[in-house]
Symmetry: C2
Subunit: 203 residues, 2 copies
């Protein structure tokens, strides 16, 4: 089916959200850990995007909705947050962090995950995660076009299993059990098709 | 292994790029189609991120490198571009679009894909793709922090197989054969673990 702007405008709101969220493609599944006045907080997010390797920067897009508000407040208050890859063994618990718990409830306890501290890093990591990063907030802007928040963070700490890192620095996250999300609520395991060489004309 | 900022700074450039690009998690695999002075252009990108459903907005992050420069120029000149999901049947051809072809070479011809027009939409779609979107550029900013380009586009056309859209509007892109990328060069098929209900406290 082909839908133009008018067709898209006419879609019912929930239908449209499910449709639009499916069309970007597969998304990363990360749990964002923060600490603030309400204690530790944990929220699943599928909007992480790589901005650059030197410095090592990631962006997160946050919708201005209630459920993620505590995460945003904590990041702005402390300047620090963690990203933890969702592993196949706990994707159901990770999804459950999207429920609208009151601020004083720690999603860690509510969903059965464990907070893990690394040194004096101010935000909690997820003990059950195999791939974890600590970030420092570098820039926050609210996009005028629709009010979403763009948070740019520098990765200042990486905690990853030795055996997951290959000789060239790449990390086989499929082998590490990291999952991917499509749409609002589908979780997938990744099965590797191939690793391809650097592309050159005539190649 | 745990790496802090100093450890990360000391990584050799290529190692660091492979490492950092692996850590965001799984990424969407899209071919971006444009038309400009050099003819049709096609470039693989893994940086699409959902910004909102109403209006239906997607962002793309483009590094300021040569290979993608023609895509950026074409989008800025014409204001239109397409996103085409990379299907398992042509992920090798899709990867090959990353080679640095001269501007007058069409990546469609060079890699063996076919340009497909929908109505009078100014940018080419990929005939072999099953899920396709046409976008109008709404905002372009260069991020001061590292010079990357953030392009925000509104989806004004969607072309998707009838049988891929479910009753609630969600699209089963795993069943549609869309692939996902990890790191710089790994391609994966997605195997669905489950679809989870809307999360509620106590759920």
């Amino acid at each position: 089916m082909i839908l133009d702007s008018d067709d898209l405008d006419r879609l019912e709101q929930r239908y449209r959200a499910a449709f639009a969220n499916s069309l970007t493609g597969f998304k990363p599944a990360n749990l964002v850990g923060t600490h603030g006045a309400g204690g530790d907080n944990l929220a699943i997010m599928s909007s992480a995007v790589h901005l650059g390797s030197s410095p090592f920067l990631l962006a997160l897009v946050l919708r201005p909705d209630e459920a993620r508000q505590h995460t945003l407040e904590n990041i702005r208050e402390t300047g620090f947050y963690t990203l933890n890859h969702v592993h196949e063994s706990f994707f159901r618990a990770a999804h459950q962090t999207a429920a609208r718990y009151p601020r004083e409830v720690s999603e860690f306890a509510a969903v059965g995950l464990t907070a893990h501290r690394v040194g004096d890093f101010p935000a909690p990591f997820v003990a059950q995660a195999r791939v974890r990063m600590g970030l420092a907030l570098r820039e926050h802007q609210r996009l005028a076009i629709n009010g979403t928040h763009l948070l740019i963070g520098e990765v200042v700490l990486v905690d990853v299993p030795d055996d997951a890192v290959e000789d060239d620095g790449s990390v086989d996250i499929a082998a590490a059990g990291t999952v991917t999300i499509s749409g609002l609520d589908r979780y997938h395991r990744a099965e590797t098709l191939d690793r391809l060489p650097y592309a050159k004309p005539g190649g």
